[in-house]
Point group: C2
Chain length 450, copies 2
């Protein structure tokens, strides 16, 4: 739906720019929702972008920088006149402004901050790493004192007329700015006008520290259905608030990270729009690692070269053993990694899960082993080969269940990211085990094989 | 953090039940947040659960059923006295009540609805499939008429004193209940008391139909940062509202679905807590499919049995060709599937993405081919073998880039779920291509191989 609108607007913008009517082009762009506008802007060529940039007003520029991809926003911000950049950053939410500044050169950051009016809101945010609660929070929140009445609070709100993205929760703080409670806008509206905030605030407000990881932030907000989560320092002093709209981005980012790691793509920022050079730099290392592990598995096979020379048909079935082991290990891996990400797996109970995956592996292994063994017998008329392949498959799928669950649990226990247990590493184990098992059985049964 | 509290509460609950003090057990449970309480309750054995259930009050039971896993909630609801179940369902949000009823036997549903007071709020929701906007929305929303003043609206809110989960957006509807706008609670609070709602409402409110897929709902809410999204029927009549807390669950569910499908686990409801029998029923079919595809790949190898009998070392490197092709295809697959899920890939521009993945594949193929070729030469002292393996790897990784991106794009164009392009199907192609390429090269270069 919105794609059609974007395409229509783009046609209009391009035609207007062609005819030299910059204002018409801007009018066509402005009609789009800011998120769509940023996408349309990205689709324009450099020349068209350069023609529009100096003519967009400050609020439109602020929307644009907030919605553009990080790198593109940084490119645009890098070339703006300093004074204009400072005005735009002043217009933005402090957390968004901090994100833009975080991608600029140190010299440019210093220049922009020197020109900004609200630099004091933004500077405290610059020190927090991107993937922590401090990096996610905004400093533009509303705080009340416990003895304010509902009526006073509402007229205060009317006075400051908070901006669109301010959360629907109001923080209650004491004289030292320590967090003592939270009030929903709804409670405020329905409270009797003369009641004091402390009467209807929720004093046991859930909060996180500035250095809490964003994965934990996401888990808490989803688990407890929170629209906003206050962030405090180690003295319980309120530092900022994380709102549900930032959370949605985190949830998508964390999911992308897990999907990519399982698929051996180590950088969650990689997308279909990434330049080819960047894609290769981030993906090739995994393939080189995979080359190493594949050579290890092939070294296992090379130990059995003489029996393969005698019974060449063994080579035909090596890939069956490896393929099925790898796939069932990946099944276990995905289920365990996801459970850890969603906070469903407690490490001290993990042995039960590993035991269960082993049981699933054993039963699946027997099921697949029997079917594949019969298949080989029907195809090659060789019953002994069928039995060896069946046993090797059963054994390897059992190993797959254990390794696929053990490796992410171990990584988690070592406080490493369990999604690092990508299929490359786990299938290296199942490949080697499978080959060794299958070919050792072949050596034992050699007299009956041909 | 919360795990410790849950464990402490569990110890208390068990001790109290042991001593026959049911009320003390309930008190220990009640101190937990409803989400934690449900987890603690699930960890109790059947006997302890049965001792507690009849003594919990209606609001606590409602919280419990909302927070328990679907299947467990249905088990509990199935055994409650009908009158008690009806009271509990009346206490719940209509969408949550509908979810519970959706998992019960038809007879039980009829009995419960007959006893319920708010059956009329819930019945309209029972007809919508779970994964559509209709299945996600709640009917408990607040609607205003355009000519209401801000002051009237606020006293109306005070009067109905909406429940905790009611969204912070108020819908504006005409006399036929058609959606004409939306008003944030914040705009209402800061508006001049005598202004009419239609003056400060947003008339171009984004909305979806009852049959819109939940993936599209999630995409829109994330893209436009919405805390609530109205749902209308085909006559634009307001039917319900989807709120951000439901969205967070959808985002997690969709991410789980994508991760699982890529890993050949077809059921997103599968988790580490699923019974072994269910795990096997859902996972084994993929392994059987994989057995078929693996046999196809091994049939390709069997066409070359005679050359393998002559040059057994070829068998050693087959797994290297297959492994690297499979892994690079999975990289492409993950990036494309994720881009489609996040709405970043437009089908009519997909040829560009496929071309790019082909280019990445070619360059990665050459890089890996050169390194692996040299590796083989150093290990086996056989330059020709190094060259064939290098060329086969380069070719197969190129094919992997094309297949890994083409298959999900085709599925999407055919309106099937692109995540169905699981690694099983894609690696079946890369395995077969890789084997054919490598062994054909071996036949051509045979005179120089040994």
């Amino acid at each position: 739906m919105e794609q059609k609108q974007i395409d229509l607007a783009l046609d209009e913008v391009r035609a207007a720019l062609e005819a030299g009517h910059v204002l018409d082009a801007i009018a066509a762009l402005i009609r789009l929702h800011p998120a769509d506008r940023a996408e349309a802007f990205s689709d324009l060529n450099d020349e068209d972008q350069a023609a529009l940039l100096p003519r967009l007003d400050i609020p439109t520029m602020a929307d644009l920088l907030e919605e553009l991809e990080d790198e593109h926003a940084a490119d645009v911000a890098e070339v703006l006149p300093t004074e204009r950049l400072a005005d735009i950053l002043d217009e933005m939410e402090p957390d968004e402004a901090a994100d833009i500044l975080g991608d600029l050169s140190p010299k440019r950051v210093a220049e922009a901050l020197a020109e900004m009016e609200d630099a004091n809101d933004v500077i405290p945010l610059l020190g927090y790493p991107d993937e922590t609660a401090g990096g996610l929070m905004t400093t533009s929140y509303i705080a009340l004192r416990p003895h304010t009445t509902a009526k006073q609070a509402i007229s205060f709100l009317r006075e400051v007329s908070p901006e669109e993205e301010t959360p629907y929760y109001l923080n209650v703080i004491d004289r030292d700015r320590r967090l003592v409670g939270i009030v929903g806008l709804r409670e405020l509206v329905i409270a009797e006008p003369d009641t004091m905030v402390e009467v209807f605030m929720d004093p046991s407000v859930l909060h996180v520290n500035t250095d809490t990881d964003q994965e934990e932030v996401a888990r808490l907000m989803v688990r407890y259905n929170l629209a906003a989560l206050p962030v405090v320092d180690h003295n319980n002093v309120l530092k900022g608030v994380i709102t549900y709209d930032d959370l949605m981005d985190v949830l998508e980012e964390e999911a992308t990270e897990d999907i990519y790691r399982l698929a051996n793509v180590s950088d969650p920022d990689l997308s279909i729009d990434s330049p080819i050079g960047m894609s290769i730099r981030r993906r090739l290392p995994w393939l080189y690692l995979n080359t190493l592990t594949a050579f290890f598995a092939s070294w296992v096979i090379s130990q059995f070269e003489s029996i393969i020379a005698q019974v060449a048909v063994l080579a035909v079935f090596l890939s069956v053993v490896a393929g099925l082991g790898g796939n069932s290990a990946t099944q276990s891996l995905a289920i365990i990694v996801r459970a850890i990400a969603l906070g469903e797996l407690e490490i001290h109970e993990a042995w039960r899960t590993i035991l269960k995956e082993a049981a699933v592996g054993l039963l699946q292994g027997i099921s697949v082993g029997v079917v594949a063994g019969i298949g080989v017998y029907l195809w090659k008329g060789n019953a002994v080969m069928g039995v060896i392949l069946g046993i090797a498959l059963a054994g390897n799928i059992l190993v797959a269940g254990i390794i696929g669950s053990l490796v992410p649990v171990l990584l988690k226990a070592l406080r490493l990211d369990p999604a690092l247990a990508s299929s490359v590493l786990v299938t290296a184990v199942t490949d080697s085990t499978g080959f060794a098992l299958f070919l050792t059985l072949a050596v034992i049964f050699l007299p009956h094989l041909s």
